[in-house]
């Protein structure tokens, strides 16, 4: 059922373009635009859905009902919220560095959007099947540190500044275990191409051969997405909302939506690197590959939300200590063990 639904749509559009005599280069460009806008629309809708999902899940965890007034069962709540935020005034504080302050919410959505370009949503369903996909994704997502810092600095507010300093310290130090954890998988597969990494998990998912790497990646991922227990950046009981304190209206909404987009990116990376991407478990291929992909992604997202609404927040020095003294050595040890394992396997001729 619908295994190739998206591929069919793509080839249908291309066929249509060919039949009306569009030159090859132009049709390539048009296909690129179609793919890009499809991804952007998809992320936006997904993020809006995630906000609602978080509110509902947090409500059930906290013995509440959650939004249930706008639309059937409250499903349109986020839409209403976004419309409200759009119509709100965008305040610029007097002490703000105007250019940077205005630029930050404009560009903040770019890094996660760029990341989605190389994601294989299903079998052969990557917008760009890039040879260095993993490398590209890590490089692009780490850009967001600078944008948060822009917002923090541009606001001209001390709470924002403290939040901004935390962003830089936290993101830079957790990038390291994040990348080192992925190295174990890359050593086994010998490729940075995401589709090939997924293919390599045909027999066994890497969560079973690299459990430590998965754990490290997951913890570092929670930190990269700035979520509890590592949500020091926007610790509302300490520094109000960190870098977003001064933002109002759509500027604030952009930061919030970006947070959910980065949760999506981290979950997708977990799925691809450790949970076998679009591969169906137990050979249940009667459901399309993209369905399995999204199922796994949403299970990961649910885990993120579950943790967020259960744990308190750790302190900034504990966070750095945990990152440098626990996660980094552990991930290095994981690489070492993986290397030895591979050497042993090769020498016994597997």
């Amino acid at each position: 059922m619908g295994e190739n639904i998206f591929l069919n749509i793509a080839s249908w559009i291309r066929g249509l373009l060919d039949s009306i005599g569009v030159p090859l280069l132009a049709s390539d460009i048009i296909m690129m635009i179609v793919k890009a806008s499809a991804i952007i629309v998809f992320i936006s809708l997904n993020v809006i859905w995630l906000v609602l999902m978080e509110r509902k899940i947090s409500a059930y965890i906290q013995c509440r009902i959650g939004p249930n007034r706008v639309g059937p069962k409250g499903t349109l709540q986020t839409v209403a919220d976004v419309i409200k935020l759009m119509t709100k005034e965008f305040l610029i504080p007097r002490s703000a560095d105007k250019v940077i302050y205005l630029l930050a919410p404009l560009v903040v959505f770019a890094p996660p959007t760029l990341a989605f370009a190389v994601v294989p949503w299903g079998d052969g369903m990557a917008a760009i099947d890039m040879g260095i996909g993993v490398f590209y994704l890590i490089a692009v997502t780490s850009l967001s540190t600078i944008i948060f810092w822009m917002g923090a600095w541009g606001s001209g507010n001390k709470y924002s500044l403290v939040g901004g300093m935390r962003v830089v310290a936290q993101m830079v130090s957790y990038e390291l275990p994040l990348v080192l954890a992925l190295l174990g998988v890359i050593m086994i597969t010998g490729t940075l191409n995401m589709s090939e990494i997924v293919e390599a998990q045909k027999n066994v998912w890497f969560i079973f051969t690299q459990p430590l790497a998965f754990l490290i990646y997951f913890i570092a991922g929670v930190s990269e997405a700035n979520r509890t227990p590592f949500d020091l950046v926007e610790a509302e009981s300490e520094i109000i909302a960190g870098p977003y304190t001064e933002y109002s209206g759509m500027g604030y909404a952009m930061f919030m939506l970006t947070e959910y987009a980065s949760v999506l990116v981290i979950s997708i990376m977990c799925t691809i690197m450790f949970l076998g991407g679009w591969l169906a478990p137990f050979g249940w291929t009667f459901l399309p590959s993209w369905f399995w992909f999204f199922l796994k992604v949403y299970v990961m997202i649910f885990l993120f939300m579950w943790i967020r609404w259960t744990y308190p927040r750790i302190r900034v020095d504990q966070l750095m200590g945990f990152g440098w003294k626990v996660l980094v050595p552990l991930s290095l040890a994981n690489i070492f063990v993986t290397g030895i394992g591979m050497y042993v396997y090769r020498s016994i001729g597997w």
Partner: protein, 366 residues
């Protein structure tokens, strides 16, 4: 090698999500580390003591609700106790028992709020909603009893306003039966959490001598291991008849103060159960003249409120209005050590320390 950087001031409050009201602390920071903390209370000052001078003795009671609005019954109690001492009124047995029941319920409600909001301060918002869910049941009981959830004004000079309504005791029994299970739930969610312990253990340590020197009282004093509870040491009302323990801490850190409150709730439930079992029949109001005119003189009484020793000093000039009323507010006095405790800790710890002192701004600013 430490790089010397410029310190800066951060204005924490009066509008801030975790100062528990309109409290302000000016922090001098070196990076994230506090160099100096200057508490600035007073944003909620309403002049309750001065207002009392222009009201009759009975009319003062509703103002006491607004002191520590989270432990409203205990505030009522502190005031009427002083006037009763001034007039030499003997409160009937049944009224005494009802006072203990609602007073301890109030203590549980206050501690539930303290525990929940402390979990919120540390970053776990779910704990906040759990305790609120259960505090609601106490407020429902109060509404049944007085028609009001927060501003109860239930105590009267010489007794209480109304007898327990029909259906009150079964609901209360059910709540008491549930409470230990609920406490276990909070322990599982909040107290036992590794991150929570890492954030609160050995943070904001108050040694016993310092606690006494700063005149701390309530769970803040007992968290430091000083065994002092007015209900045991100088029993007022009928507290000498009940069997309960006074939970003590060891290290005097934020965690011990938190755990003390947790354990006190279970002890309060024990007291309520004993009071319910021994609840006698009889009048709920002593014979008191319509217009209360205490003889010329002064009286000072102290009760153990949920935050510490709540004292009330009343001076009478023989008229129907008090000449002077003064409240010893435990929250305000407990706050005295904040400036010293915060130095050397991080911004996040300032919130943790402030939360562990459990202040109510209505009481601090009076």
């Amino acid at each position: 090698m430490a790089i010397q950087t410029q310190t800066y001031f951060l204005n924490l409050g009066p509008q801030h999500p975790s100062t528990h009201g309109v409290f302000r602390v000016i922090l001098e920071l070196d990076g994230e580390v506090v160099v100096r903390a200057i508490p600035v209370p007073g944003y909620l000052h309403r002049g309750v003591e001065k207002l009392a001078e222009a009201r009759t003795y009975t009319q003062v009671i509703p103002y006491t609700d607004r002191l520590d609005y989270l432990a409203n019954m205990l505030m009522n109690w502190g005031y009427v106790e002083a006037v009763e001492k001034l007039m030499g009124i003997e409160v009937p047995e049944r009224a005494q028992y009802i006072r203990v029941i609602v007073g301890e319920l109030s203590r549980i409600a206050s501690h539930l709020m303290a525990i929940g909001s402390y979990a919120g301060d540390i970053g776990g918002l779910t704990g906040f909603l759990y305790t609120f869910r259960d505090r609601e049941r106490i407020l429902d009981l109060f509404e049944m009893l007085t028609g009001s959830r927060m501003t109860v004004s239930y105590f009267r000079i010489g007794g209480v306003a109304d007898d327990l309504p029909e259906g009150f005791i079964p609901l209360l029994q059910k709540f008491l039966a549930d409470l230990p299970g609920l406490c276990d739930e909070y322990d599982g969610l909040i107290t036992g959490n590794e991150i929570f312990q890492a954030r609160t253990k050995f943070v904001g340590v108050i040694p016993p001598e310092k606690a006494i020197n700063y005149s701390l009282s309530g769970p803040n004093l007992r968290g430091s291991g000083v065994n002092f509870d007015l209900r045991k040491n100088r029993p007022y009302g009928i507290y000498d008849r009940f069997d309960f323990e006074v939970p003590l801490g060891k290290n005097g850190d934020c965690f011990d103060r938190f755990v003390c409150r947790m354990k006190e709730m279970r002890q309060s439930a024990r007291i309520i159960q004993q009071a319910l079992d021994g609840l006698p029949e009889g009048p709920i109001q002593a014979k008191v003249p319509k217009v209360i005119k205490p003889p010329v003189g002064e009286a000072y009484t102290e009760i153990e409120s949920s935050k510490g020793i709540f004292g009330c000093y009343v001076v009478s000039d023989g008229s129907n209005k008090p000449y002077r009323v003064h409240f010893r507010r435990p929250s305000f006095i407990n706050l005295g050590c904040l400036a010293e405790l915060c130095v050397g800790w991080k911004i996040a710890d300032v919130i943790a320390i402030l939360g562990s002192l459990d202040i109510v701004l209505g009481e601090v600013d009076c």
